[in-house]
Symmetry: C2
Subunit: 305 residues, 2 copies
DNA sequence: GACGAGCCACAACCGATCGTTGTGTGAGTA
DNA sequence: TACTCACACAACGATCGGTTGTGGCTCGTC
């Protein structure tokens, strides 16, 4: 591919060979092999050089694209100049949404979004070890108990919505208060114990007398949404910016939880001595995008106050 | 890359090897070579299989993308299942704009836009020979004088705009008539004689007593625009949907030509027995997009009436 | 019209590459 | 302790892909 592009650019095999530091014969062979593979003639050879055929013309942009993608793939992992690597705990929640927004406004910055499937501590350790450049998590411990090189900045205050089906008693509500939820069953299957999320929802449940039910097999979000759409009693909580997709026929309602609005605070976590040039840009972007303060009364967990 | 993706999908080298019809050892070698090249570990080997490292996770989507691009590159030229290949005489004029629109509404259809730099006859010959699937041109001869397998459909009726700089006497006009243009000099450098375009503009000039000036060296569109921006007398004609880009400082004006509006009629040209499945879709799309009839009085060349 | 220059293709050769078979190592398991 | 499973290492052979050498073609020039 590289040889083909070089030959197309040079207009003749000899110069392309020089540019690639190989012989003209090698270029000829490579092009011939490519043509044989594709079963198509890419150049018309003339005594003045080689000109692209129509097929060659059509192929050229694809070849260039291939080289671009290869360079990006390389840049994504090669030590020293790899893309900014950020861990999110799910590709559907606020951190992923904000990263997508960051990518839109800074399309030139190479970004790799990975999911380590780890809690705060393991993810922080990964940042400390340098396997990822940053992660988004709720920081539940004071700064002095973190590894010394680690820095955090609170960049997300995520409010909640109640997700219910059309037959649920709250289906028509414009907003609900946490106190109102006490009478209803909140279902959040698959939330593991002893994580930052369970800490948060346990404290929330205790504060407002909620019943948050985490039992039941985990069949994934699609199954959860299908169950909720169908049930007159089940409901679940989700972050305001969480991306859920469901068929129109489900007729699910997203109802803001307010007065007070429970806030799930999340921080960007990075290493102070990480020299990646894109890191401060991400931080600035997130700070600028922060909804601060959310309007109306809010509720925060103890560790977030 | 293919081996890496297969191994990542399988979760172990053995199954990937089976899927690729090679031995486990070969997979191991390929992955090791890739890792050595990238200077990064992509898998953690366990007695249960191989799991992606964070680097591997980051690399995987790029690897998949590379394979996709490769498949598209292949499909763009491989005989039998290549992309729909359409010739336009310029990437800036209406046909290219309409193709882009077609691509937006049918993103799944592989499309290759090429420029043969040929007149109607040569382009029609190319369609007849099968080097391109279709071309856009003004058809100046009756259907019976075309090769028997060739079909045409008039799909574009392009109106014109006058392009002038801020010091031109017509700079402030909301519209101009062809008759008004008789007093002004129209500059269209680089328009070769004995082509469909020169035929058209010669007839237009004769019909309204215009002075269309085709002399002068061709430095390209950018140079033309710069000259026009600067001149109080020069003007040029352009198709309504022609994409021109110029700096704001040029302050160029695009003034519709109306009463009557000179129409440049263009047809899609294809071979009746071309079995490419995307061809009828393109034709239908173009017919649906056709502005038919353009409102207000129009002027057409003899061969277009 | 002969000749040289420029460019690409073909042929012979040779070292590197890549896949194969065979074997070793380590972790989990009966 | 022995067995299984999965990956790594080693040796070997075919193929690949590069180089050098050469020939054919076209064009410009004398």
């Amino acid at each position: 591919m590289r040889t083909f592009v070089a030959a197309a650019d040079a207009g003749q095999f000899q110069d392309a060979a020089a540019a690639l530091s190989i012989t003209q014969q090698a270029v000829s062979k490579r092009i011939a092999a490519l043509e044989k593979d594709l079963q198509v003639r890419l150049f018309t050879r003339t005594p003045r050089g080689a000109q692209l055929t129509v097929d060659g013309q059509a192929f050229l942009p694809h070849a260039r694209e291939l080289l671009r993608v290869e360079a990006r793939a390389d840049a994504s992992v090669r030590p020293g100049r790899r893309a900014l690597r950020v861990d999110v705990h799910s590709r559907r929640t606020a951190p992923a949404v904000l990263l997508q927004d960051f990518h839109r406004t800074h399309p030139r910055i190479e970004l790799d979004v990975v999911t380590l499937d780890a809690d705060v501590h393991a993810a922080t350790a990964a940042v400390d070890a340098g396997t990822v450049d940053a992660t988004f998590h709720a920081v539940t411990v004071p700064a002095r108990r973190l590894p010394p090189a680690i820095r955090t900045a609170r960049v997300i205050d995520e409010r909640h919505e109640l997700l219910v089906g059309p037959r649920h008693p709250l289906a028509a509500a414009h907003a609900v208060t946490p106190a109102q939820l006490a009478e209803h069953r909140i279902w959040m299957p698959g939330m593991a114990v002893d994580t930052e999320w369970s800490d948060y929802y346990d404290e929330l449940a205790a504060a407002f007398g909620l019943t948050i039910d985490r039992i039941g097999p985990v069949f994934g979000n699609e199954a959860l949404l299908a169950e909720i759409a169908d049930s007159p009693t089940l409901a679940t909580l989700a972050g305001e910016r969480t991306r859920y997709l469901w068929p129109d026929s489900y007729d699910l309602r997203r109802i803001p939880v307010r007065d007070p609005a429970p806030i799930y605070p999340m921080s960007l976590i990075w290493r102070a001595d990480n020299p990646h040039p894109a890191l401060p840009k991400l931080r600035d972007h997130l700070v600028a995008r922060r909804v601060d303060p959310p309007d109306g009364p809010v509720w925060l967990p103890k560790w977030g106050r």
